[in-house]
Symmetry: C2
Subunit: 330 residues, 2 copies
């Protein structure tokens, strides 16, 4: 080797240079990788967040919606409903909130039965909590969210129409299940539906909430939900209930108007009876409605006031299924 010394310097220098360069490159890459991982999420705390920017500024982000469906112990219903919902017009993506703790998601089976019209993402949860579905999922790219219970079947026609209505009322919860609160002389509120006394503003009934288990709402409200008082989360976790009432409080406070717009469904069905799991849903618990009245009063305490407002607007689709729905004697 000594004899090649005169020739080696070039090569040695070359090799040293090469090593040096490689080391520099590798270090730079590591630094870049570290920087990328450490970049903070830029959050605008002041804005009420209806101006959430979708991650892709594509047309689809404005003209389509993301279905978020939480599921517990009814995978048969989930899969049946997914076959239906995956093909709804204007659907961008499905996020399945998997509350079956410790159980594997049916990913293999799902993929083996592909291709599917839209991406379906299974989000594995660590605890079986009702409010898991109200996370600000990073996979969410659209301004609109459609939230459905895992036992509720709404027709494509109804969903397409309700989505078009939501686009005209984007700051409201636009959905198919209206509920109301009433106040009583004692100042204690009660929660219920048509069976409760009408609130007494003229004729007919009023609603002050639209349940999120079958409704469209702005994805910005999921972001807002992350910034609520701790007591709200505690209440929802304590009752495993009332996340939807809390969302209505949030929206009503934000808009100063009735939180929801009720769209009368033509075809909505509850598939509870069709499950093999024997599990029939939280609302069958004896204390379910009493809990919801309890939640209304607790939320009034937490928010220091009653923000819910009444509405009696019921929206239907003109001339669907046919013109008989607007025929009159004239």
């Amino acid at each position: 080797r000594y004899f090649h010394f005169c020739k080696l310097p070039g090569r040695v220098m070359g090799i040293r240079l090469l090593r040096f360069t490689s080391v520099v490159i590798i270090v730079l890459l590591l630094v870049a990788g570290a920087l990328t991982a450490l970049l903070p999420n830029i959050k605008d705390d002041k804005m009420p967040n209806l101006r959430r920017e979708p991650k892709t500024q594509s047309q689809s982000a404005l003209d389509s919606f993301t279905l978020i469906m939480q599921t517990y112990n009814r995978t048969d219903l989930l899969l049946k409903l997914l076959n239906h919902y995956q093909a709804i017009p204007h659907l961008h993506k499905v996020i399945v909130v998997w509350n079956n703790i410790g159980e594997k998601i049916p990913e293999e089976m799902w993929n083996s039965l592909g291709p599917h019209p839209v991406p379906v993402i299974f989000k594995v949860q660590t605890v079986n909590h009702m409010r898991n579905r109200l996370q600000n999922f990073p996979e969410l790219e659209t301004k609109a969210v459609l939230m459905m219970d895992d036992d509720t079947l709404v027709s494509a026609h109804d969903l397409a129409f309700a989505f078009s209505v939501w686009q005209q009322f984007p700051e409201h919860i636009v959905g198919f299940v209206p509920r109301k609160h009433i106040s009583t002389p004692s100042g204690v509120y009660s929660y219920g539906s048509f069976e409760l006394q009408n609130p007494g503003f003229g004729n007919g009934d009023q609603y002050s909430m639209v349940l999120i288990g079958a409704a469209f709402f702005h994805s910005g409200y999921l972001e807002d939900f992350q910034r609520q008082p701790e007591a709200v989360y505690a209440l929802i976790d304590e009752t495993q209930n009332c996340d939807d009432i809390a969302m209505n409080f949030l929206v009503a406070k934000h808009t100063g108007k009735p939180s929801g717009v009720f769209v009368k469904p033509v075809d909505i069905r509850n598939l509870e009876k069709d499950t093999n799991s024997g599990y029939s849903g939280m609302w069958h618990r004896a204390e379910h409605l009493l809990q919801r009245s309890y939640c209304v009063n607790k939320l009034v305490n937490i928010y220091d006031g009653m923000p819910l407002k009444y509405s009696n607007i019921m929206i239907s689709q003109f001339g669907f299924p046919n013109y008989a729905n607007h025929k009159n004697k004239m």
Copy 2:
């Protein structure tokens, strides 16, 4: 008289002064009178006039409406309807546009049957023109107008609800009779109702006009109507028709949105058959619908484009007459 000459100057001067002063005063009064008569009406030409200031800034101007009803050759129906409409909640005043040229208004009879819940003003017209009802009546004090044909009976419930809907959509024509236009491959438009083909935006039908013969709209639009191209007035006068189509064009141009919001009436009736006059209304003329298609095309020429937009939103009153109107299988 000569002897009094020394005393007369005072009196003579006094009389001359008096005459002079009187003449000056009279001249001043004449000038003042002339000035008052010549004062111009101050009009704000630039504003689109939805900011019309009511003459009294009272609460009633905001929370009530003025009924404008044009009448021709059906005084029996008019009086029957007035008994009903004069008692509608939130009604401020009635303006009857009297198209019975040369015939005395039933003022004596009206007064002899008083007192009445609200003032009713009979506006005598000089020619029997369809567009007489679209004048900017100085008696109009409210932001809202309810316009009704003199053969149309709408229940108080429907009117109270529709007024509350108008208050939520004040820039739209909120009413009970939806119509539409369709375009054809030749570019010629057609006017009609459910019998025409659906415009083809998804399921069901669409409407692009709400007729003003049974509708609420903002009184500012009456002011706007006075500033339309002459050809519009000529068209309405030529056809004795289409004033309502013209109003829908005006509103659609102004808002850039569908001109109307359709409220499905629970109880609306046509009383034509009940008149003793034998007169049964313009829409029975053979050419009525063809004329309206003709008007649509003429207005597109006049306004250099088709401003009408489609909507399929149908609004009903939640839980009225009873909760069955929103019951579902869930």
